[in-house]
């Protein structure tokens, strides 16, 4: 173990050594380490290169706030994650980590040329530089910027891990398990309320983990913590979630949590999800998200070895790691002294303590003085040296006159900065709570809440362990009370060095008028105080604009360490107060969140429901190739051995025309409309007249929207006076049902009629062709299916194979045809029986493609293919279906508008190519005269196009302007190889008289 590791102390297990590699070098850490603490224990400070200037960077922080130490963590060949904060990665045996944004190596990085060129690369340089010449954008600038942009490499293969999702409810959700959160959770839990407590870290405790000396209720903090956690664990009304980040605050107290289940394990069990998304609906929320220390802004404040004072304290007290041997402390906040005292006690030389403030009189400063540490006040930092690790700092002294006198250069390997604490108000702000600027502590704190939520402890600007615990308990109690659970207040006795978190936002004073270079504000996006000054000089005033111009606060750390400093610098530049500059929006997620948990279980076959009909397996056994129609798998065609699709479809079509075919029509939407007002309702809803439809008869119905355009169609059967069986298109089932329900509930609540979806109640086999009656006659009982007893467009109840059946005499092929409806569980048996019964007649299963060809030969439209949401019934030749005597129906007023009947509307016609073997492209445009220059005058488009085997000719349906008046004309379909001449015909190509319907 290196000398950086202390012999005792911390919350690590020194007896459990863990091996890991960083950039190929094998190193060792111990159980309880983060990747960051393990690297520091090995004396490794240089961990990355900055985004823009490729400057060497080390650890700034010890937790979520870390902007620099972004690494790639590789578990195995299939699992790697870029851009993870080394400070948040729990070490496990065998972990592999690599630094990023460097080439060829971390210590020698070619991209560092950008650092030397930095005077040429100010904020916004890319907005100005890459404007000219214009043609260079696509060929030169954009590809090169793209190559240079971004950080880290995304994994290339499919993600082999699984991700879980979960909904949960609780009375009180406490976010953050530091002292405030623990006090809140315990107090609320004691009332009996259901409490959930989550914390992003591996261990509960928050700042207590860094403060082993504090005594709470007479116990050392570690012991107190153990007791509280044990108490919470023992309570059945408490759910504890470690390693769980609350990343998003959604309306009505819905909180998104990201639980990392296996990320910390060396060999996770394969059945465990890697991460889990929790969607928690909490009656009350307690935000105990703590506060984050700010760095100080001075020239060269980004060298490895320069870090937050709180981070050095965390590394020492929690992980037993000395971050250096000789430290300079730069204080803008009393918290610096607590770190100085702890580091000194651990044997680290404190080379200097420079307090930028005029005086240092707090209790921590007094203790530091008592411990023999020298403090110089009114002191700033003028610069630092050291390429891959800080080697020295140059001090400067603030004179009463306001000028700055250069001071000594102090050798050191560590610089600790403490600029004050910024309350973590991200989630509060996401909840639409209004922030308030506290002019004493110069930070934004929660003001007026928008949700049933309250903040507790440091995240609302409260300092000191005792005050934080007391506030946590009070908020926990009040949250529980708001959910109806009463309890008693809690009081704590605390012995600790209480430090104020108040600091100084903005940059440290520097000599001269122009801000120094390389005084970093946003470490992750390489934004300096000079960049901010440039933005204000260029006239930007709004913080939202300055943010976008300089990119400050736009990195993945969301400006956690930079936001207040940026505001402080800009406010000073303008000579205004911080609140007048404004604040940028805090957006979710709080920390980067994997796509995995958002996808969850929805991947592969489970991405979307895959709906299969009852007879699916039988169709599959017959060789069906399936196509997706909505969520349904529908048989597309049934190729025999060597057939291609064209050959199979041709065979299937001819079988229906000449013999008999069978088709699974189960996916059609079905709605049972029942009640004394059923006919009245349908009369208002569909264009047709339903009052005169006799029981036992069916009719083809057209549904319009209120704008008069065709919305759906289907055959509707009258089963009884007060009962109709409505069919819809496969894709339209849900929306037609919803539209019916909408009208019934909002427009016609007086009608005594109810609708019930029966799509899945019935399996439907269409048996079509001249021999169809012969086939079903073998199986149907209790019913007369002769032409006279059961004419075209009729319906009757009977039995097939002994089970109840609703039989329709309908045809979507133009042939004699029946549709056998049976309760769905019998669908497979009846399909199989029909197939067996039909074998002697050569029954041929056909799919959706043949169905499309057959209906196109007859000119039957498909809603959504011939229509596109702008076609009226007249446009598609369906005026005959409209009930002329009806006083009203949905869309009636709209189709009476002059524009809906004006000339020039597109109308449904047939197109025949002069060459019968040429098949048009669906979607192709139609023009009136050949060889037109672009732009051509388009007069319509092809909606359906097939090769008709029965006609030996290609056929097409098209929507053409004034098409019906053009029948007989020759038009042209322009294609890349030239114009294809077509003859306009009526849209019915086969058996125009309809005699074949009668068998």
């Amino acid at each position: 173990m290196s000398q950086c590791r202390t012999e005792t102390g911390g919350r690590i297990d020194r007896s459990r050594k863990l091996s890991f590699t960083f950039d190929g070098v094998q190193l060792y850490g111990v159980q309880g380490d983060t990747l960051a603490s393990a690297l520091l224990a090995n004396g490794v400070h240089l961990v990355g290169r900055s985004f823009k200037y490729h400057r060497p960077r080390g650890f700034l922080g010890a937790g979520t706030e870390e902007p620099n130490a972004l690494v790639r963590v590789i578990r195995d060949s299939a699992r790697s994650t870029p851009n993870v904060r080394a400070t948040s990665v729990e070490l496990y045996d065998g972990l592999i980590a690599e630094s990023q944004n460097r080439w060829p190596s971390l210590k020698f990085d070619v991209g560092a040329i950008n650092d030397a060129l930095s005077p040429l690369l100010p904020a916004g340089f890319y907005y100005k530089t890459f404007m000219w010449p214009r043609s260079a954008w696509h060929k030169l600038y954009e590809p090169n910027i793209r190559a240079a942009a971004g950080l880290g490499r995304a994994p290339e293969g499919a993600d082999p891990d699984s991700y879980a999702q979960r909904f949960a409810h609780c009375d009180v959700l406490v976010i953050g398990a530091g002292p405030a959160g623990l006090a809140a959770a315990q107090t609320a839990a004691r009332t009996g309320a259901h409490v959930m407590l989550c914390d992003e870290q591996a261990e509960f405790g928050g700042s207590l983990l860094d403060d082993p000396e504090a005594l709470i209720d007479g116990q050392p903090s570690a012991q107190w913590l153990q007791g509280v956690i044990a108490d919470l664990k023992a309570r059945p009304n408490v759910t504890l979630l470690q390693r769980t980040t609350a990343f998003g605050y959604f309306p009505h107290n819905l909180i998104g949590l990201n639980e990392r289940v296996t990320e910390h394990l060396s060999a996770p069990h394969q059945n465990l999800p890697r991460e889990r998304l929790w969607q928690v609906r909490a009656t009350e929320v307690v935000l105990a998200t703590g506060a984050i220390e700010r760095p100080l802004v001075f020239p060269g404040n980004d060298r490895p070895g320069i870090m937050l004072a709180s981070a050095a304290r965390t590394y020492l007290n929690r992980y037993g790691v000395r971050v250096g041997k000789r430290a300079v402390i730069v204080a803008g906040c009393d918290a610096a002294y607590a770190a100085a005292l702890d580091l000194k006690a651990a044997g680290i030389t404190i080379a200097a303590i420079c307090d930028v403030r005029p005086s240092a009189d707090g209790p921590a400063a007094a203790r530091a003085r008592a411990a023999g540490l020298a403090i110089t006040t009114n002191t700033t930092i003028l610069g630092t040296r050291g390429r891959l690790r800080v080697q020295s700092v140059r001090l400067g002294h603030l004179e009463i006159s306001g000028s700055i006198r250069p001071g000594v250069t102090v050798a050191c390997d560590t610089v600790l900065m403490s600029g004050g604490y910024t309350p973590t108000v991200h989630l509060y702000s996401q909840s639409r709570g209004k922030l308030r600027f506290d002019s004493t502590s110069h930070v934004f704190v929660p003001g007026t809440s928008a949700e049933r939520e309250r903040s507790a402890g440091a995240c609302k600007g409260i300092d000191g362990l005792h005050a934080v615990l007391a506030d946590g308990a009070a908020q926990g109690l009040s949250a529980a009370a708001a959910t109806g659970f009463a309890g008693s207040p809690r009081h704590y006795t605390v012995v600790a060095t209480e430090t104020s978190g108040i600091g100084i936002p903005g940059a440290l004073p520097q000599p001269g008028k122009t801000p120094p270079a390389k005084a970093f504000v946003d470490f992750q996006n390489d934004v300096t105080s000079k960049d901010l000054a440039l933005a204000t000089r260029e006239g930007f005033e709004s913080i939202e604009h300055i943010k976008r111009f300089t990119t400050t606060g736009m990195a993945t750390d969301q400006g956690r360490t930079s936001g207040m400093n940026a505001l402080g610098i800009i406010a000073k530049d303008f000579g205004r107060e911080i609140p007048s500059i404004g604040l940028t929006t805090f957006r979710m997620p709080y920390t980067p969140t994997s796509f995995g948990i958002l996808a969850g279980y929805a991947r592969g076959d489970l991405f979307d429901p895959v709906r299969r009909t009852a007879a699916h397996d039988s169709a599959a056994a017959l060789g069906a190739v399936f196509e997706d129609v909505g969520m349904w798998k529908r048989a597309w065609y049934f190729p025999k051995s060597s057939e291609d699709m064209h050959a199979a479809v041709e065979r299937e079509c001819l079988a229906v025309r000449n013999g008999v075919g069978m088709f699974d029509a189960s996916t059609l939407g079905k709605i049972e409309v029942v009640g004394p007002d059923a006919a009245t309702f349908l009369n208002r809803f569909y264009v047709n007249n339903w009052a005169n439809l006799a029981v036992g008869r069916t009719r083809y119905g057209i549904l319009l929207r209120d704008d008069g355009f065709v919305y759906d169609d289907g055959v509707i059967a009258r089963i009884a006076d007060d009962r109709f069986h409505v069919t819809t298109t496969t894709g339209g089932a849900a929306r037609v049902f919803a539209l019916m329900e909408d009208y019934l509930q909002t427009e016609w609540p007086d009608l005594k009629v109810w609708i019930t979806s029966t799509t899945e109640q019935w399996s439907v086999v269409a048996v079509q062709g001249p021999r169809s009656r012969d086939v079903i006659a073998k199986l149907v009982t209790d019913i007369d299916i002769s032409h006279n007893a059961m004419p075209h467009m009729s319906v009757a109840n009977g039995r097939i194979c002994g089970i109840p059946m609703m039989l329709f005499r309908v045809s979507f092929t133009g042939e004699l045809g029946f549709e056998v409806n049976v309760p769905a569980h019998y669908g497979k048996a009846v399909w199989d029986a029909l197939y067996e019964a039909g074998r002697e007649f050569g029954i041929t299963p056909y799919g959706t493609e043949a169905m499309h060809v057959l209906r196109a030969e007859k000119g039957y439209i498909i809603v959504g293919q011939e229509t596109d949401g702008t076609a009226t019934p007249d446009d598609v030749g369906l005026t005959w279906a409209i009930g002329k005597t009806k006083p009203d129906f949905l869309g009636k007023r709209a189709i009476a508008r002059p524009a809906m009947t004006a000339t020039g509307r597109k109308q449904l016609v047939g197109l025949l190519t002069l060459d019968p073997q040429v098949q048009l492209e669906e979607g192709a445009q139609v023009i009136a005269t050949p060889k037109q220059p672009v732009p051509m005058t388009l007069i319509g488009h092809v909606t359906s196009s097939y090769m008709s085997s029965v006609l030996g000719h290609s056929i097409a349906l098209a929507m053409i302007k004034d098409g019906r008046a053009r029948i007989g004309e020759t038009l042209y379909v322009p294609m890349p190889d030239g114009d294809i001449p077509v003859k306009v015909t009526a849209p019915v190509f086969y058996d125009a008289e309809g005699v074949r319907l009668n068998g």
Binding site: Y601, R612, A614, E672, T758, C801, Y826, K828
Partner: protein, 180 residues
Amino acid sequence: MVNATAVLPTLPSKHWLRGTAPTTRFSLRGNAAAQQLAGQALGLTLPVEACRAHSAGERAALWLGPDEYLLIAPLIEGEALRAQLAAALAPTPHSLVDVSHRQIGLELYGPHASWLLNAGCPLDLGLAAFPIGMCTRSVFMKTELLLWRKDADVFHVEIWRSFTEYFTGLLSEVARELPG
């Protein structure tokens, strides 16, 4: 003449999932008068309280809306019950539709029943919010379903036929992290 046999969607064999006995189902719509008449024919009182199920023996009535119920009875009673209900309800406006084959019934049982459901169902399934005897329509990820808590750790689920595979497939994924 062959007699057709019913084929229901197959359920995966899991220690937390079981099928239910073959069932006749009716969707009943109608006002208080219809509800009273239907209850008499069914042999139980239709619940008036929202989202509650009443059962008597193997028969049950589930409140799905102010004028909407799902009536459940053993398959064998189906045809007779349909006739009884139709006769009883004849005097008053109503809608009675056989939906026996539209959906299937299954049960999630055991200590993880509600945990399994909460992977994809956003409802609070704690006993206080969703007590025994409560029923409601809800969603599980992208499918609709009907939940009826028959015991603390037994949920009767009704799901549309073609969504069964999706639902049980997802549950099987969810259950992967369960012991055993």
